[in-house]
């Protein structure tokens, strides 16, 4: 690529590269770069030079004539964007337009422009991605210039990625857009949140049954109440609901057409490559690698963990119902359900039941943390996908578990 230029004034000259452009949708990437490249006559600013080199190489028809220096208002430390008048810009095939172009730091330009909430979030998401990958987003906004000299409101058009000492990017992947993929089916999301609710209620009531750490004080005339009775009623009732939920999950694992609900998802290590990816994911979490392999749905470590959670929940159901069955020892059915108590003793079963609860709590803490972490770093909308089902991926991304995003 030709869009490189030594940064002037640097002690050791580093090359300045243009990584690509993001467009808010109204104009294409070439227009964004051409607008950014409009520079005063004889400008030796390295950004201007690099942009102009690129426009002449890639979109010569969009190149604008140099601007009269009087039409340029350069950025300052206080106002981190510059404003330039661009006359006769070929905005559409039909004709040209006179525009006021605002160019500068993202924050500064966004503060001056009106933009819809959806667009703003999209621009921010892309700008954050660019920053994470070492580019500085140079924001571009335009306003119309009426013949009488009045300037319309500024609209954000996108940004250009500027980098120092960065390798240039493949122009095929300049289209720096995010694509929403509908990944999680409604029934899966419903399962997830019903499970959250059930585990929450069962944990609270179960903890009180394990250790009734509060209750009425002993003094004469105290009303007896029915505290533990209510707690145990809720625990047992929600326990039955949870069992039904678990049963429906098992059924869906075998009959569902949704790949993410199928039982095959519980064991992710089917090929050698999966084991390698598992290792990479673990190294990423251990801060050894800076990039993790990209997965649209779950990574192998998640698959293994969630399989473990299914086992833990199964153990909770088995131990819970074997304890509940103790009330009905004359019924052959409940006597059968209670069989585990004869292997480990009732206190042993209660101990497992309690320790599994703490284990699930530890899982929930790590699970919530890693979900928030992944969403903040990768910007894929993982948290909101648990509610609306859609994750965001960059166009051109090559996930392990899905075809290239295009």
């Amino acid at each position: 690529m030709t869009a490189t230029h030594a940064v002037s004034g640097a002690a050791t000259p580093a090359t300045l590269t243009i990584g690509g452009a993001f467009t808010a949708g109204r104009i294409n990437e070439g227009h964004v770069i051409a607008l950014a490249a409009a520079a005063p006559v004889g400008s030796i600013d390295p950004v201007d030079v690099a942009l102009n080199d690129l426009v002449h190489a890639e979109w010569p028809d969009l190149a604008t004539p140099p601007i009269d220096p009087r039409d340029a208002d350069p950025p300052t430390r206080e106002r981190r964007h510059g404003v330039r008048l661009v006359r006769g810009f070929p905005l559409t095939d039909e004709g040209t337009a006179d525009l006021v172009v605002m160019r500068g730091s993202m924050e500064s330009v966004m503060a001056q422009t009106t933009i819809s909430r959806g667009d703003r979030s999209n621009v921010r998401r892309n700008a954050a991605w660019a920053r994470r990958h070492g580019w500085r987003p140079l924001a571009i906004a335009t306003a119309s210039l009426a013949p009488d000299g009045t300037i319309g409101p500024f609209a954000l058009q996108g940004f250009v990625e500027v980098g120092v000492g960065k390798p240039t990017r493949d122009p095929d992947h300049w289209s720096a857009n995010w694509v929403r993929l509908s990944v999680w089916s409604a029934s899966l999301r419903l399962q997830h949140w019903l499970n959250v609710a059930a585990v929450f209620v069962l944990s609270c009531t179960g903890y009180i049954i394990m250790d009734p750490f509060f209750g009425p004080e002993a003094h004469a005339g105290a009303e007896a109440g029915f505290q533990m009775g209510v707690v145990r009623f809720i625990h047992v009732t929600v326990g039955f609901v949870w069992l039904l939920l678990g049963a429906s999950r098992v059924v869906s694992a075998f009959v569902s057409r949704d790949k993410h609900l199928r039982w095959t998802e519980w064991w992710p290590l089917k090929r050698k490559q999966d084991v390698r990816n598992l290792g990479r994911v673990m190294q990423y979490y251990a801060f050894i690698k800076t990039e993790s392999p990209l997965f649209v749905a779950h990574n192998p470590l998640q698959h293994l963990t969630y399989a473990g959670v299914y086992v833990a929940c199964g153990v909770q159901m088995i131990t819970g119902f074997s304890l509940y069955g103790l009330y009905h020892q004359t019924s052959p059915f409940w006597a059968l359900v209670s069989t585990p108590v004869h292997w480990l003793g009732i206190p042993g079963i209660r101990l497992i039941h309690a320790m599994m609860m703490f284990g699930l709590w530890a899982f929930v803490i790590v699970h919530v943390y890693l979900a928030v972490r992944a969403d903040s770093l990768e910007r894929h909308g993982g948290i909101s996908s648990m509610i609306n089902g859609g994750v965001w991926l960059r166009r051109g991304a090559k996930p392990v578990d899905a075809p290239e995003i295009g």
Binding site: V7, S8, G9, A14, P40, S43, D45, P46, V47, A72, P74, P75, T76, R77, G82, R103, R131, R132, W135, R136, V162, V164, G165, M210, D211, G215, P216, A218, A222, A224, G225, F226, Q227, M228, G229, V231, R232, Y285, F287, L326, Y327, T330, A335, H342, L344, G345, I346, P347, G348, R350, L351, M355, F358, G359, W361, A362, I365, V366, Y369, R373
Partner: protein, 382 residues
């Protein structure tokens, strides 16, 4: 203590009782109590006092070998105090306990001969005490034979085998970790015949006599649970019929043995009562002529009718058993909260490292100052 039947003179129990001056009214009263007891468990067939009286009265003198192996004699003491009314005493005498170390008059060769003679005929075998297997059974020998040999010989012609007490059921205290003598229960040795486990340390005297009476009455073993305990006495947990259960449901707990709640007779769950984990008829039948029982006296149940209670139910004054690790024992709750705390700490450290790395990578992005972003003073480049 009065002994109404000193000698078995008539062929049946009924006639012997009549001869000894026990009125039918007294006998029926006893049978009524037994009927109530059997009716406890839905597993047992319904029986009226008259049925029991007719059947018991028709009983002919069965031979009994009552072995006492590795044990403390507590079960025998409990049996002898079963009710204490003359009629229970009679039933026991009428069993013709030909061999029992504690109550028999014979000693030495005479005792051994009584055992050998009874073993040769069909008989009921009652066993107290565990069987130590380690080091060829040297830890309990009777007349030069190991407990295992004594048991196997006596079991050969036995028509029914009762393991009475925690020792005979699973080994009890001496079988608990580390079990230095290798003690096991009767059903670990006798595998070809059903063994009725009358569990408890000791079992309630009435449960022992009721089991014997059931055998005599029905000529068959009672219905049992998965651990071979007669369902009529072991189908409900202490918790299910505990007189303090209302306090459990109300959330009213004794939190230390000297608090106001303890004086009010509230639930002992928080001080480690094992009633919710223990199958026994204690709250219904109680002990020593219905005088009292552990929970009635303000002490939590320790779960002595359950297998391995000494290992699995300890510490007795905690709700959950301890978690054993590498020589470290801690309460389940401590370990659970420790796990949660460690997870939170781990997450905090990981989040901190993430933030530091993220900030570092952001800083490196700043890179060279560029005029287009307003980094440099005005006018330098343009």
């Amino acid at each position: 203590m009065a002994n109404p039947v000193d000698v078995w003179a008539e062929p049946t129990l009924g006639e012997n009782l009549a001869r000894a001056g026990v009125t039918r009214r007294d006998f029926l009263a006893f049978c009524g109590a037994l009927a109530g007891f059997f009716a406890l468990g839905a597993g047992a067939p319904r029986a009226s006092a008259e049925d029991i009286a007719d059947k018991l009265a028709a009983v002919t003198k069965p031979n009994v070998v009552w072995l006492q192996l590795q044990e403390c004699t507590g079960c025998m003491e409990s049996t002898l105090r079963s009710g204490g009314t003359t009629v229970e005493e009679v039933v026991l005498r009428l069993l013709s306990v030909n061999y029992n170390e504690l109550v028999m008059a014979a000693a030495g060769d005479g005792a051994n001969k009584a055992l050998a003679d009874t073993n040769a005929e069909p008989h009921i075998l009652v066993v107290n005490g565990s069987i130590p297997l380690k080091d060829d059974g040297i830890y309990c020998t009777i007349g030069g034979e190991s407990a295992e040999e004594v048991l196997r010989t006596s079991a050969e012609n036995a028509t029914a085998i009762l393991a009475v007490g925690a020792c005979a059921v699973w080994g009890s205290v001496q079988a608990s970790r580390p079990n230095p003598t290798g003690a096991v229960g009767v059903d670990a040795i006798i595998r070809d015949k059903p063994v009725i486990n009358v569990a408890g340390c000791p079992p309630i005297g009435e449960v022992i006599t009721a089991t014997v009476a059931y055998l005599l009455m029905h000529d068959d073993v009672p219905k049992t649970d998965a651990e071979s305990r007669p369902l009529f006495a072991y189908d409900q947990r202490i918790h299910d019929s505990c007189p303090r259960r209302a306090h459990f449901d109300a959330g009213q707990y004794v939190r230390s043995f000297d608090d106001e709640a303890a004086r009010n007779g509230w639930c002992l769950y928080e001080v480690g009562c094992k009633g919710p984990s223990t199958f026994s008829a204690c709250p219904v039948f109680q002990w020593n002529l219905h005088t009292s029982w552990p929970i009635g006296a303000g002490h939590p149940c320790i779960g002595c009718t359950e297998k391995d209670f000494f290992d699995r139910f300890t510490p007795f004054y905690q709700v959950l058993p301890n978690v054993r690790g590498f020589g470290v024992e801690a309460t389940a709750e401590k370990i659970g909260w420790g796990l949660v705390g460690a997870t939170v700490a781990g997450v905090a450290v990981h989040a901190g490292l993430t933030a530091i790395r993220h900030a570092a990578s952001r800083k490196s992005e700043e890179g060279e100052p560029l005029h287009a972003f307003g980094d440099e003073p005005h006018g330098k480049a343009e």
